[in-house]
Amino acid sequence: MPKKLVETFRVEWLQVLDEDGKCDEALRPSLDDDQIKRLFEWMVLARTFDEKAFKLQREGRLGTYASILGQEAGQVGSAFALRPTDWMFPTFREPGASFVRGLPVRMVLQYWAGDERGSQIPEGLNDFPITIPVGTQIPIAVGAALAAKAKGDDVAVMAFMGDGATSKGDFHEGLNFAGVFAAPVVFVCQNNQWAISVPLRRQTAAKTLAQKAFAYGFSGVQVDGNDVLAVYRAAHEALHRAREGKGPTLIECVTYRLGDHTTADDASRYRSQGEVEEWKKRDPIERLKKYMDKHGLWNKSYDHAVHGEAKEKVEQGVSEQESLPPPDPRDLFRFTFHELTAELNDQMERFVGTDGQRDARE
């Protein structure tokens, strides 16, 4: 047959809670009441942290910081589906996910305060430090997944990325690699509509980001990224497939960056407040709250307690971070290689002979 159909694809959209918190019971993931409360609590912590971090930066107590306001569900819902033994590769906009994993608030602040010790992930926590060069964590995550597979470990890997990252060669090479070797990895793309000032339509002519998965022979799904239950469901299913040896999945979380790109950015230069207001209505925390309220999982006093605890945790982290001794200048050299080379040792000693010393005296 001269002109025949050789392949067809479908991209589906998944939503469990609508904007009024109405739940599609058929799609509701199997989470017990406590777990749903945890999701709520993690999202509140993420937002509480975000507000504080923003303030700290404005007060000059923190360096450049990338807000996660409005993206709490995509981070918490996906990370909540991971097991402690799994590995996670966050971008610079995933503190919410890192908290779920167990990274201390103190360390996230430490990193943004310009201290490498904030990336010294605690032993036992299988998370990669934040990656700044967009998309470059993707092939690394695939490598970790293939290593786990090669060693026969019952481990899945979750790699986060933004919509902008989908334009990077590393996204392509990493996902293609994962497809070819059926790597146990889940790609979570936080489509927050913007890459700094570049809108999604300038990032790709594709209608969805989920469809990019078909280029690599595995499936992609588009999820309401402000619906924590939908995100959890998609992540849970994808991780299950990964563990079953069924290969990778691309999850596109459709969400929105409510804040500026970072504290160094002014989004009013390139986008309308109207668009922002529209998205504010889709607040992921409000949505889950409505659902919990309907099901008697939420009330004012619980809400008050949750916010109180979150505030406490964050303040605790702030004072921990701010009471840390400054890093030792010698750390500049010490971790370049397993052992200091002769040349690095010379450089360190010459240096300690000048600035280092003087600074030590200060």
Partner: protein
Amino acid sequence: MAKLTMVEAINLALKQEMEKDDRVLILGEDVGRNGGVFRVTQGLWDAFGETRVMDTPLSESAIVGVAVGMAVYGLRPVAEIQFEGFVYAAMEQLADHAGRIRTRSRGRYHCPLVVRIPYGGGIGAPEHHSDSNETYFVHTPGLKVVVPSSPYEAKGLLIAAIRDPDPVIFMEPKKIYRSLKEEVPEAEYVIPLGESRVVLEGTDITLITWGAMLQPTLQAAMLMEKSGASAEVLDLRTLSPLDTNAIIESVKKTHRAVVVHEAPATCGVGAEIIARINEHALIHLEAPVARVTGFDTVMPLPKLEKYYLPNSERVVEAINRVIHF
């Protein structure tokens, strides 16, 4: 004449060249409506529209590759890499195509391309936002490398870079993007590539540097003057091609030299400068040429940044080492 920052001076150069030559266009991340994360392209999107000021997808390799194609076709693209830490992804396009097309096609095609790269430390920027990676380009055949040290310099050098028929990596020191203002003529002027300048005349020692390091180097020279040593300060301006003659002439006069740069020492441009002094002026040297550079380590995050970057104390210390050798 207006006092401008380097950001304003570069913006002015871009505006004037775009007005003068409609083959000139800009592409990169956030260079359009947002005017660039450093505001270097501010106002150009409004003035010239989105086909001449193109916001691109997040693809450093394609930004350079596409610009190479535009240049080969006959335009004069000015591509922006948002921060130097993200240019590594474009190395293949730079080394395998931008720097090669003229020679591999025996002149049939050439590549009048400018790649603007904000680079270097000193502003407490996040990780991967403070590297000094000029060596990668200086070592790559077929690429020219320019680093302005002031607003006035930036305008004249960028105009020369845009008009140059070959690919030019134009590295903009973030540290002095706004920290110093200078009289910059509205009128057009060109500072030819490949010619360094003597910023301070002196007789006892030659201080060779470029970009943001010119400031601490000048401070060191002033400090030395108090202690009676007269330093000549050379601003290289162009790292490829290097102005070897100027370096040699000055060293023959002073018999001593210190090179100052932010990049790691090993295989840094300082090493090449020392190698050329060795080749052309060894017998004139009264002491080893000293290097004051970044260390052979990863550029640290802000809390340790000040220890990594050369400062006037380290330059003074080196000058004393050389003078009292």
